[in-house]
Symmetry: C2
Subunit: 491 residues, 2 copies
């Protein structure tokens, strides 16, 4: 495909000049429009080395107010990024509503070149392509406009440009090893690029090939494409999108109502087991660290169910250098202005580390759903989006453990009353807790739906029966230990 | 000093046990108190390798709710951190109000070991110590409690422990190269540690030596010290602190009123100069990148003075891979909960990159001062705190350029009116702009004081006369070019 691409319609020099100056002006008007309509725009510049991506990007952004865009350069992955899920480094760079993010070399360049140069296996490559397709679809579904550009030049043209750059001391450094390698293996690369473009050419984020032989002509193609894409997207702001059906294998889970809450443990057994299990977990933590396996533990549960105390017993077993607890409150403005999973991506641990979330991304299908903080379309889509997020963690090699801390309504009442009546505990109880309690039944329905739809085989829910907090703590430790041991066996 | 330290009072085993369990309980109560009083607490664990810092830290935090503290491990500096100012990696880790940050190996360990092992010169080391002293004082002055602990063991004890760790496969990895080096050069290290402790033993952040021969005894010392320190700090929450006098050389600057605003440039000259200077700046940007020199450009000015358009003309000359523009709005909750400079530290560029700030840390002595968003003590202290911040940038090797974009009151009125009457510009004008305009004279006084007190020789203010926006843009380009050329000559 790439080898045969002919983009028709390169205008005469005079026409090019006229269209370019008109297009530049139009683009700067679009900037205001996207700000007004809070449309976030992602533009990726991929293509052949020396095709002029960087310099065209430089020209395009001259028409924009630099306070409302950011540019990112691909090519090198930092140590820190290398220790996170593949998507991490890209997901954390998505723009706020009303702004642009430009990627000079995106996840396409990263993945195809890693694969071509033998840094990743075919299997890993395929996983990445699947992950990218989900990523781009989720961005679209969450209101992002994704414009993907591929800068095309022939083998001969590339070779000519590389020579020209190398012949000048001041531009020499701009030719990378990968550029030279590409030119030598042009046909092999073209095949992989073709396949990649073919398989990621989705309705939600289609590809545009840019004839890059002439810089001004390339610039015009890019700007005109941006304008058309923005105009289309602006017509569709806040449109409801189709709900993708879940395709991950699910575990069968009980309804909350059917869970027996009379499980208990004696004080003596509790102390013995706690100390035994914490020692065991401490050892496993060392092993995780050594083998660079990441762990993500997610806690959800009723108010006063005992999440805090439960987390404390897990954390107490861990080496402080290797874990972090993230209490999740309502999102701050810069978080609310992005995809709802953004603030969780930014909090993911490094490999070998453990992240414990006290409340999680499941807020989307509980509080945000019930309080109307997102649209119906948003929360209905979220089950699958969350499964895909957890799949990304699984692909990365993480152990993912999700706890629902369950109590009954009477137990909650007695704990609320106790908090209210005990001066040192009063800070733990707010009016909001009482208001939420009134919606118990609505929440129960939402939670049942959530547990049913998101208990994937790679990230199942575990119920912690917590009328007896001691029982729940011991069970949590056992679940965590079992999941880690399982994973260590596989690896 | 360290070699002779005798910490009296190690209690009998029974007493130790009793005091420890009482102290643990007290500490967990302090956690609630610091949350209630919004006291942020920083605790640093430094000392000899194998002295048991990590394991004591692990014991101490077991008494705390993991949602309200974070731990950080020193020892290795990431690529990304290595490309920022020395303080960056520490400053970005300070806690929010009401929470703890624990540093297992702090800026002390980093600096003394870098110096001892020959990674930095005596001159750089001295700069770091000065920077650390300023850092700790600023933390105290901004309401942080800083508790610094040094874990002391003898040469013999250290040697014994290293041998024990090395003899067991499961603990072998915990002995670092630096640990072995330290033991071999114990006396040399002791001298440097002594000097460091001596010179950083400030009233605002005193040192505590911890006798570390016995783990439980070490734990008790740490916890009791924490309790005492917290209790003292809680008595002093929001106390006014002395205003440190500026000690940096200042440039003489004009009052706003004395600035002549009739400077203009013809349209023809503007176009010619703009293109010539942008080309020049583009070349210099390449050179900065190659030589890894960072640049920080700060814009402040009256509403409608033309900051946005001015920034755009600078940015248009730059390679998009090498700069970023940071529009600064009012702080978000997680920013407001920290030292006011935190959100600027987190936005510093990497070396070789340019960061342009559209509004800056000077908000502290303008809008925050005039609107009462901080106390009088806060903004009065801020002049020196800001000079110290910019000194940190200067020590790092950054070019720091600060612009005040100046117009007169009539010009502002005509621009406001124009914005109001032009539909595409209406988004640029808000009621707040009109309210600020009413306070013109108060602002003018504050700005004059700011310019007078913060025009240091290493980070002077430059006035951009912007009644004629074209004139101001050309001047800005010239100032930036001159500052970079100056710096390139020195380096």
């Amino acid at each position: 495909m790439l080898n045969e691409v002919i983009i028709k319609g390169k205008p005469s020099d005079d026409e090019l000049k006229a269209r370019l100056s008109a297009a530049r002006l139009e683009l700067s008007k679009r900037q205001q429009l996207i700000a007004e309509h809070k449309l976030p725009v992602i533009v990726t510049f991929d293509g052949w080395g020396a095709a002029g991506k960087g310099s065209v990007l430089g020209r395009v952004i001259k028409n924009l107010d630099p306070r409302f865009f950011k540019t990112f350069t691909g090519g090198s992955v930092t140590d820190d990024e290398a220790r996170r899920p593949f998507l991490y480094k890209h997901f954390v760079k998505i723009p706020e509503a009303g702004k642009f993010s430009f990627f000079d070399g995106s996840w396409m360049e990263e993945s195809t070149m890693d694969y071509l140069m033998g840094d990743i296996s075919k299997k890993t490559y395929n996983k990445r392509v699947a992950s990218i397709k989900r990523f781009e679809r989720q961005l679209n579904d969450n209101g992002y406009l994704v414009v993907k550009l591929f800068f095309q030049i022939s083998k001969k043209e590339q070779s000519k440009r590389i020579k020209a750059l190398l012949s000048d001391k001041s531009t020499e450094w701009r030719v990378s090893k990968a550029d030279k390698w590409q030119n030598k293996h042009y046909d092999e690369c073209a095949k992989v690029f073709d396949d990649y473009i073919e398989s990621t050419n989705q309705f939600v984020a289609p590809w545009y090939l840019v004839d890059s032989k002439d810089k001004k002509w390339a610039e015009l193609q890019v700007i005109e494409r941006l304008i058309t894409s923005i105009d289309t997207a602006l017509k569709n702001v806040k449109v409801a999108v189709p709900i993708i059906q879940n395709t991950f294998a699910l575990k069968k889970m009980p309804k909350l109502n059917d869970i027996s809450l009379d499980k208990t443990i004696s004080n003596e057994d509790y102390k013995k087991e706690l100390s035994r299990l914490q020692k065991k977990l401490a050892k496993l933590h060392n092993e995780l660290y050594r083998r660079r396996i990441p762990v993500v533990i997610a806690y959800e549960g009723w108010d006063a169910a005992g999440k805090g105390g439960n987390i404390k017993r897990i954390a107490a077993a861990l080496d402080p250098r290797g874990y972090e607890v993230h209490p999740i409150a309502s999102p701050e403005p810069h978080e609310k202005a992005r995809h709802f999973l953004w603030r969780f991506f930014t909090r993911l641990p490094k490999d070998g580390h453990i992240a414990i979330f006290d409340r999680t991304w499941y807020g989307r299908v509980m509080v945000e759903r019930l309080e109307g903080f997102c649209s119906e379309n948003d929360w209905q889509r979220a089950y699958n989006e969350i499964n895909e997020f957890e799949k990304e963690l699984d692909d990365w090699g993480a152990v993912v453990i999700k706890f629902w801390v369950q109590i009954d309504k009477d137990t909650q009442l007695s704990r609320f009353t106790d908090r209210q009546n005990t001066p040192e505990k009063q800070w733990k109880i707010t009016d909001e807790d009482w208001r939420n309690r009134e919606k118990w039944d609505l929440y129960e329905d939402a939670i049942n739906e959530m547990i049913e739809k998101t208990s994937t085989t790679f990230a199942p829910w575990h119920i912690l029966e917590s009328n007896d907090k001691h029982y729940a703590r011991i069970k949590a430790l056992k679940v965590v230990i079992a999941a880690i041991e399982e994973r260590l066996k596989e690896a």
